[in-house]
């Protein structure tokens, strides 16, 4: 059986599944239940200076897939609405009862040295395993100069990270906001400031939808609304992309990453880890289904690792990073074409109409004597875009098959069709 335990910047945890800083980790009661359910660690709901934040009523909204399951989740909650003192007391007690679990404390205070100095020293006394600096909250807090307002300015990120490292011995994780043009800049800043790791992503600015009867966005607070933070399965692709950017940036390569964003099952977790994450954090999935989901996450990940012969998380961590590259290094001489398995085809015609209307007119509709249609790929026209495979509702009915074009690897920097190519035609041939 695979060993799921991890050591993330010196913080040990029996498995890589942590709960992200959010309502699931709001207080001792929730966190105890989470540990009982089997979570490897938690990042405590973000603490701030007293007086504690006050929340509004009506706080969440969502978008749903066609089966009515939540695919994207939006919230307008602030950081903890309980006093600092109560939180610190509970953190200390929980850590004492659960010494084998990771307990990281999330923080957000104004961008002043004294404020950070005071709070990190308080937290250190609790015996918590580490700090996470919340530079990500995109709603409410930035209006007060905190959260994303800090995370969007790399200089502030660097400065605060440096203060925290200066005034405590705990590992410091900087939580990044995705509401920024290039995620590498704040990540580099965190590293420069001495952060031990980054975690990402926090939530994305969002409006999930409009109540068209009342002409107001959701969630509605007395007829008005405000943009919130988006998370859940819909944000996973964005989080994965940002994770890969940091994992392969020469300046941040090797910087430990805690992956967050839309993780709902073992497969999502394995994807973040394959892009370099050393642990993963979950919020929405736990909020929708409860803490018990960690059970299937653990067994699923372990079974998959066993099937692949991976004994530890480190065995496969980052394996997908070298295969994530710039467009210009992709092989221009690689060719795939679609192939339809006639026996599996149910005749829905979606591949045809998608390709015919919007792509390359590479599928032929052949009416049959019995009134049904047959669909055939016109190989000469197929550019191998995957659209038909994506729209086909039948598993493995359309496959993309490799065609040997008899040419060696050649990327765009070497391609004679590229007017700005970096190498001459001759040198390509020689290579």
């Amino acid at each position: 059986m695979a060993d799921l335990s991890i050591d993330f910047v010196g913080i040990k945890s029996p498995n890589p599944f942590w709960l992200a800083s959010a309502p699931p980790t709001d207080k001792a009661y929730n966190v105890e239940r989470a540990f009982e359910a089997g979570w490897g660690g938690v990042v405590w709901k973000t603490l701030g200076e007293d007086p504690a934040a006050v929340n509004v009523s009506s706080r969440y909204s969502a978008i749903y897939d066609s089966y009515g399951e939540v695919s994207g989740f939006n919230n307008i909650e602030l950081i903890t609405d309980r006093s600092l003192e109560v939180n610190l007391r509970e953190i200390e007690a929980v850590k004492k009862s659960w010494p084998d679990r990771a307990l990281v404390v999330s923080l957000m205070v104004p961008c002043e040295e004294q404020a950070w100095k005071t709070i990190v020293k308080e937290v250190e006394k609790t015996g918590a395993d580490g700090l996470e600096l919340n530079f990500g909250c995109p709603h409410g807090m930035p209006e007060r100069g905190m959260g994303a307002a800090v995370g969007q300015v790399p200089e502030y990120v660097e400065q605060v990270a440096r203060w925290c490292k200066m005034y405590c011995k705990m590992p410091v994780i900087v939580k990044l906001t995705p509401n920024i043009t290039d995620i590498r800049f704040p990540a580099r800043a965190a590293k420069r400031g001495g952060a031990d790791a980054v975690s990402l992503i926090n939530t994305i600015n969002s409006i999930t939808g409009i109540d068209l009867d009342n002409m107001v966005a959701r969630p509605i607070v007395d007829g008005k609304s405000t943009h919130g933070g988006y998370c859940g399965p819909a944000v996973k692709p964005i989080a994965l992309s940002m994770t890969s950017e940091i994992a392969r940036d020469p300046e941040t390569m090797g910087l430990p990453i805690s992956g967050i964003g839309g993780i709902s099952n073992w497969r999502d977790a394995a994807e973040f880890i394959s892009l370099g994450a050393g642990c993963v954090q979950v919020c929405t999935a736990a909020m929708i289904y409860g803490f018990r989901i960690v059970e299937e996450m653990k067994t699923g990940l372990a079974n998959w690792m066993d099937s692949k012969g991976f004994e530890t998380i480190e065995d496969f961590r980052g394996l997908a990073v070298p295969n994530t590259t710039d467009w210009k290094y992709l092989n221009m001489n690689y060719k795939v074409v679609a192939s339809i398995d006639e026996d599996k085809c149910i005749g829905c015609g979606r591949c045809y109409i998608g390709c015919e209307d919007t792509s390359h007119q590479a599928i032929d509709l052949k009416p049959q004597a019995d009134g049904t249609n047959k669909f055939e790929i016109i190989e000469e026209e197929c550019v191998g875009c995957n659209l038909c495979q994506i729209t086909c509702p039948v598993d493995d009915c359309i496959t993309m098959e490799r065609r040997d074009v008899g040419q060696p690897y050649m990327n765009w920097t070497q391609d004679p069709r590229n007017p700005h190519r970096e190498v001459t035609e001759e040198s390509t041939h020689e290579a």
Binding site: S66, Y67, G68, I346, G347, C348, G349, R350, Y352, I353, L365, G371, T372, N373, P393, V394
Partner: protein
């Protein structure tokens, strides 16, 4: 305006209505939303090709899924103004749902098109009739028979700007929707509510108790109107071809069903208490047997001279009979009706049959089934009024050329009374609609 909203008051729901509760209950909103998400929105969809009335199924299902119930209903009604009753009576298992591509996968589970169609037509809320009539053409067309074919034809003609006068022999319009379809398929007086909805389009005058061959004649109709459409259905009933069929205790299934459909309380019906025999193999026979069971007849035996594979009732209908605990006996043909000394029916004798080289022959075995009543459901026939000018081959069914024209000038026909297509409600609707379009085109060319 909404067809379903015109529901009867709770107090009016009789014991009889309770006995004949909906056999296929409507979907809840949640179920409809889930079911609609199962549709793949096929291109050149097989289900559309299999719907006799050409409803754009993926489009109406997408509208349901997107929360536009009125749009869904409009899509349905634009091809089939009786989409509400069709959604309840269509044998979807041999039509749209049989063709659904989701049948083919391992799941073998088609999108429930009929129930979704019902969801849309039941729940759409229209302020006015959803369609507007074209500017008046000044033409008037006579429609004979207010069954599905006649109603569909009349509605389409009205939409195209013509005026229509319907002549119906019975006191109520609706044809077999009112008098023939099993009571558990069309509940809550649905047929009449649907007719009200259809007539709301305007331009249609309905004359009931006006029978062709008695109160009106083709000659005057062709003279007075710009065109005539015949949708008179099948009024005759096929006999068993044995002796004593006219004696008490032997009934036509369609007559009994008609009485049942019109009865307000169960005591208005004479229901066999212990046992009855139904002869036939089509949906009428199945409906008859099941309805007897619901009325309380203890033992109902359905007898057919061939095997279950040969029955015209679909597998689904046969299953309904089994669910009603109807006994099905095959390979048996009626030989003689049995009476006691007072001429009271006591039973029926059957002759066992088999096929040899594809030919049905008798074996040397016979058996008797004791019963209080025998119901004949071996097919309906056209009874074309003898007084009217005949059309070729009118002995069995009215023959039509393309465009639903009969051999008589200006006279068109559609539905069960013609030899076109299968005898199904949805077929009748389609033929009525196509005939209306043909009439319109003809009148337009004449006008030029």
């Amino acid at each position: 305006m909404n067809i379903q909203n015109k529901v009867v008051e709770a107090s009016q729901v009789s014991v009889l209505d309770e006995m004949f509760s909906d056999i296929k209950p409507a979907l809840t909103e949640r179920q409809a939303s889930y079911e609609s998400s199962r549709c793949y929105y096929c291109y050149d969809a097989p289900c559309v090709k299999a719907c006799p009335s050409d409803i754009n199924i993926p489009s109406f299902i997408a509208s349901i899924h997107n929360g536009d119930i009125e749009g869904a209903a409009e899509t349905i009604y634009s091809e089939n103004i009786l989409g509400g009753s069709c959604s309840r009576v269509c044998p979807t298992e041999i039509l749209c749902e049989q063709a659904c591509v989701r049948n083919k996968e391992a799941e073998c589970s088609p999108v429930l098109i009929g129930l979704l169609q019902r969801h849309a037509t039941d729940n759409a809320q229209f302020a006015d009739h959803p369609f507007e009539r074209a500017p008046s053409t000044g033409k008037t067309i006579a429609v004979v028979g207010a069954g599905p074919a006649g109603l569909s034809c009349a509605h389409r003609l009205a939409l195209l700007g013509h005026n229509v006068e319907i002549f119906e022999a019975q006191s109520k319009a609706g044809g077999l929707n009112e008098y023939g379809i099993a009571k558990y398929k069309l509940t809550d007086n649905f047929a009449q509510k649907e007719i009200d909805f259809i007539l709301e389009v305007g331009g249609i005058t309905l004359h009931t108790n006006k029978a062709l061959g008695k109160d009106i004649h083709l000659e005057e109709l062709t003279e007075k109107f710009d065109a005539v459409f015949l949708g008179i259905g099948l009024q005759g009933v096929r006999d068993l071809g044995i002796e004593n069929e006219d004696k008490p205790g032997i009934y036509n299934a369609v007559d009994f069903i008609s009485e049942l459909r019109q009865a307000e309380t169960a005591d208005q019906l004479v229901v066999p208490e212990k046992s009855a025999v139904v002869i036939g193999a089509g949906n009428t026979a199945i409906d008859m047997a099941c309805q007897l069971k619901r009325l309380g007849t203890e033992e109902v035996t359905l007898v057919y001279r061939r095997g279950t594979e040969d029955m015209s009732a679909t597998k689904h209908e046969q299953q309904i009979a089994k669910d009603h605990e109807v006994r099905i006996k095959t390979w048996s043909r009626p030989e003689a009706l049995l009476f006691d000394e007072d001429d009271k029916l006591t039973g029926i004798r059957f002759q066992k049959t088999e096929t040899v080289d594809g030919k049905l022959i008798d074996t040397d075995e016979q058996f008797d089934v004791p019963c209080e009543a025998v119901f004949k459901a071996v097919g309906q026939t056209l009874t074309y009024p003898a007084s009217e000018p005949t059309t070729p081959d009118s002995g069995s069914k009215i023959t039509t050329a393309e465009n639903f024209k009969t051999s008589i000038e200006k006279v068109y026909a559609g539905g069960d009374c013609t030899g076109v297509g299968e005898d199904l409600t949805v077929e009748a609707v389609q033929q009525g609609k196509l005939a209306a379009i043909a009439i319109d085109e003809q009148l337009k060319t004449e006008g030029n």
